[in-house]
Symmetry: C2
Subunit: 245 residues, 2 copies
């Protein structure tokens, strides 16, 4: 037996999230089926990030054990021939037999994408949240800086997460404006349930003038979900990078 | 009665092209249905560009006559409430009663999008043609310049087009590389059937080393469809701008 690590990219629009469910299409379900077709084995997958319905990834992680003779670095090729075009294995490799993505120190990079214009661009409707009103992007940029550092992010965690501590370290949080495309770039050592979408929803409240940039430290310190802004829609979120340290 | 001009954007992935057909979803069919719901009128639509199945637009034109009291500049708003999210009317206005988009002097801008990397990016699989092999992008840039000017483009026209002359003027043709995203930008006073896709297919032959950049003038002068490269896939093509002069 050997342990294989897959790096997986997907358009999550038509899936009920990463984690397997009965009677609903999931990324994990489709990956397991492809591995079954390639190896004949009904494997257990260890997921890196259990992304929600509609969330996308360029670099999620899935790990499994197999007796297959296919070399680790060739698995991506065999699996892609069995996967639908909206899911691609972009890399594969053999890893240590005790490797577990959620028990390793890692750095994840998320991007939240906003289509900022009077009418939604249909070519981005699957991947960007549309905002038609004026946004104070300079205010959003100032507010974003307050998230950087080690904080208790309990205000930025939806009910339903399973975690021992709500303390996380954010290495970078910035807002980039490229014409009508606004990108919220967040990098950290781990993220609570819905954390990036609540950060995005709170920054959109800043952009809309309902929260001031200098209110962010108080919202963090409140350790109360009610203090932060709403959870921004799933479709704007992309897990861009997942690195092990 | 008054004549209304619509500027229409759409993701063409799930449509059998612009032009109405029985038993297949089309952009024109969905627009006509939305106009019927808003005005109660079964109008005749005059289309600007009859884009093929899978081709996208940020700025196609559709014109119709109506007795509706809705002001021209408000039509986009009424129609968008009846349209699916993959089709948006981005502007509307009242025009002269004899305005006809295909009889007016116009300038159209198309972009052809290529995803150039080892494995297709699933977030672009609807909008970019994937090329995994090496491309000589400098050669493609040199080749593109030869298309600029007034030429007989019979070599770049699929059978089935209806046109009196195959002479067209290309104002600009350039290849832009932004990481793994390669964009072929073409602007002209008119385009023959499949012309941009055949230009893109020919430039990809140059990128792949099968045609030299300096062969392009001879291919144009041949006035023979067999001389040019293949028709590149529909999904990479976007009608970006449609301007009346």
């Amino acid at each position: 037996m050997k342990r294989i690590k897959l790096t997986v990219a997907y358009d999550g629009t038509d899936y009920s999230g990463y984690q397997i469910q009965n009677n609903a299409p999931t990324i994990e379900g489709v990956l397991k089926e492809a591995i079954l077709q390639v190896t004949g084995e009904d494997v257990t997958l260890i997921g890196g990030s259990r992304t929600d319905a509609g969330v996308h990834a360029r670099s999620n992680i899935a790990v499994f054990d197999t007796g297959s003779p296919i070399p680790g670095e060739k698995f991506y090729y065999a699996l892609n021939s069995k996967l639908p075009p909206e899911i691609r294995v972009v890399a594969s490799s053999e890893v240590e037999e005790d490797f577990h993505p959620r028990h390793c120190a890692s750095r994840k990079t998320y991007e939240y994408h906003i289509d900022h214009g009077p009418i939604p661009d249909p070519l981005y409707q699957r991947y960007r949240t549309h905002i038609y009103w004026d946004l104070d992007v300079e205010g959003m940029k100032k507010a974003a800086e307050h998230f950087i550092g080690e904080h208790d992010f309990a205000s930025f965690c939806s009910a339903g997460g399973q975690t021992e501590t709500t303390v996380r370290t954010i290495y970078n949080c910035e807002v980039i404006e490229e014409g009508r495309h606004i990108i919220i770039h967040v990098q950290g050592n781990g993220f609570l349930y819905n954390m990036v979408r609540i950060i995005a929803g709170t920054l959109l409240e800043v952009g809309s003038g309902r929260i001031a940039p200098e209110d962010i430290p108080g919202i963090i310190n409140a350790c109360d979900r009610q203090a932060a802004g709403p959870t921004a829609p799933a479709k704007g979120l992309v897990l861009e990078k997942y690195e092990f340290l």
